[in-house]
Symmetry: none
Subunit: 209 residues, 4 copies
DNA sequence: TATGAATGAGAGTTCATTCAT
DNA sequence: CATGAATGAACTCTCATTCAT
């Protein structure tokens, strides 16, 4: 049972993470000064350090939180459709809705390996210490792929490759859509699913989608 | 006709860029100190500044150079196959060979928007000044997509979306393969082309590839 | 009502300005490193930057402060003598006492235009940004001259010229006395006033003063 | 007899000094880069170092040259008037004509003690090494004062004080006039002489001059 | 001797982190 | 625990000087 004190702590923690998300999304991790973050949260710099050991820890906590959010959206939910394609669409749609809710920060999050494959800069920034939840996201995606293979819905290709293909496709659409300023990335779900499953080639069977 | 002096200049410039590529790939842009770069190039710090105005300019020059390299590999070459699929495979193969030649730096380059969609950090780092050649790469990819559509080889979808799909797929495989430590990304070409064109869904016609 | 915190701020600010005055007087502005100043004030370098935006700003603040001090001494004070000569003597005496209190820094201050006419170096150093209070000093001197003319005590010459004459005379004595190491410049007041008013020519009426 | 080689050397030396005068007058000594000077002289930086040991030496040579020029103008010339006042006027006029010929540099020269009393900055810049000819200028002025005292034309005051008074007056007018942008400082000679000799006080005998 | 690129010590400034209040 | 000023290591960039050509 959380005490009043615990609740206060959580309040501060959240305020800091919100501020950090906005500032880091805006300027990138390196240009984001702790001072900026504390100012946006309307608290003192020292207070940030009462809740996080280092600036880097703030970023890591943020990534944990977003990873956890993503992972949740990727998990099965009661009442999901049976067919893999529909299930994929449903889950992807939830994921992209989540991305839409944290739009700008995802530019940063992706760079830091949210779907796997962090940049060198990111690695250096986090001193190589892994973000726990990030592994779960990868795991959840890999599990989804496995499911598809097991169900016979996906080609019997090396799962690692299919995972790269799926994350690449998702990232391509997320980044592209953010950059293009699309109001909703979630809206792209059908296209993404279709391209991921059936590719970009024209075939007699698929005229226009 | 380049004089001896011009040659010397180019020599230094290249040495600096090579050193910068290695150091930045290794530690990321921010952790890479000019001092590290000059040390690796076995020259003095000041010499770096005789060739580049700022540290940021070194990165930009590097991105220009790699972009230009990529663009070149994407351009048509005499004697290319007629069919779009084969042409795509040939070009992609060349591009990936280039990536293989500059493996580790591509982790950095991608983050800085080499195929479009730079991260917030990258934007901040470059102060929003665009890397000229990077636009050409995007253009070359878009042109390739257009070609495919015109030839009737690709679905009649919004070209911007197909571009996101292609770049996403490429980036997914490049990053994934780098991270996995695959010896050659070029070797992935057939899989990439196949997935891009025909998707990941199992179909009666495609058992195993 | 100044809070404890405001007092602390002022304490630091003064310590910095005192240290800067000493160091700059000793080595000149360019040779004075921020590190020297902070060391003399027994604080950290960063602290200097918590109180002043740039090194240049420290100098400017110092000049403002000394200018303000000078201006104050030049202002009328209740109970001053009526006659212009005596009034001039009284004010000049106050001014020179102030100079005595900040002896060595005045070498720097004069060079930076404390009585008008900054050197090229000074202009460049301050980036042409004017020191507000310095204008007031010039104004106070000009006012004094005007007063003398109006009172019929000074020749009816172009006031700008008389101002140059007065400031030149003052600066000549200040610099000369400082260089000669005179213990008190204030003690020169009578000579200065006499020479300023009656010149250096021998006349039947003035044997020795 | 100067050989062709000597002439060439002198040509370079002069070109450098001319360029240095202009650049230093414009930006002050510290902001004047050797590179700027060599560029203005249309020669290479290295060449400057073939003629002067250090940047500081260039300044010193410049000051020597201007000091020597001033000293020359202060020396007696055949056919000068007998009366001290007229002699003073004649010499001062020559000096001010020289100043006019090197207008802007004098802002710098004065600061570096051309008439005595260098600023702290100047002392630091020249590392305390004296400029030989500068002593001669002071000597020539002191001699002039002595002459006036001996002739009974000046009050029997401490010569050092009268020297400070004269140099102060001259510097006041030079700086003031330069700053005011007067086209000719030489034209001020009569006023300067009059004020120096008879002061600024109105007396029954002197209505308007 | 003129050249101008290479050199590297040095300086100003920033900002994550600490800690007394 | 919140505060925010103090701290000082670290980093980029400058520029007087050198030296191979």
């Amino acid at each position: 049972m959380p005490t009043r004190r615990d609740e206060a702590r959580a309040l501060f923690r959240n305020a800091i993470l919100d501020a950090a998300e906005a500032v880091i999304a805006d300027r990138g991790f390196h240009a984001a000064r702790i001072h900026d973050i504390s100012e946006r949260a309307r608290i003192a710099v020292g207070t940030v350090y009462n809740h996080f050991r280092t600036k880097e820890d703030v970023l890591r906590a943020l990534l944990e939180e977003r990873s956890e959010g993503l992972r949740r959206e990727l998990m099965p939910v009661p009442g999901e459709p049976e067919s893999f394609e529909k299930k994929l669409a449903v889950r992807l749609s939830r994921v992209l809705a989540y991305v839409d809710r944290h739009r700008s920060f995802f530019l940063v999050a992706l760079e830091h390996g949210l779907f796997g494959a962090a940049s060198a800069t990111a690695e250096a920034t986090l001193h190589g210490k892994p973000v726990r939840q990030m592994a779960s996201v990868k795991g959840a995606i890999a599990a989804l792929i496995q499911e598809g293979i097991a169900a016979g819905a996906l080609v019997d290709e090396d799962p690692a490759r299919l995972t790269r293909f799926l994350t690449g496709t998702m990232k391509g659409f997320i980044l592209g859509s953010l950059q293009a300023g699309l109001p909703s990335i979630q809206g792209e779900t059908p296209v993404i699913v279709d391209l991921f499953l059936h590719g970009a080639a024209r075939s007699p069977a698929r005229r226009k989608r």
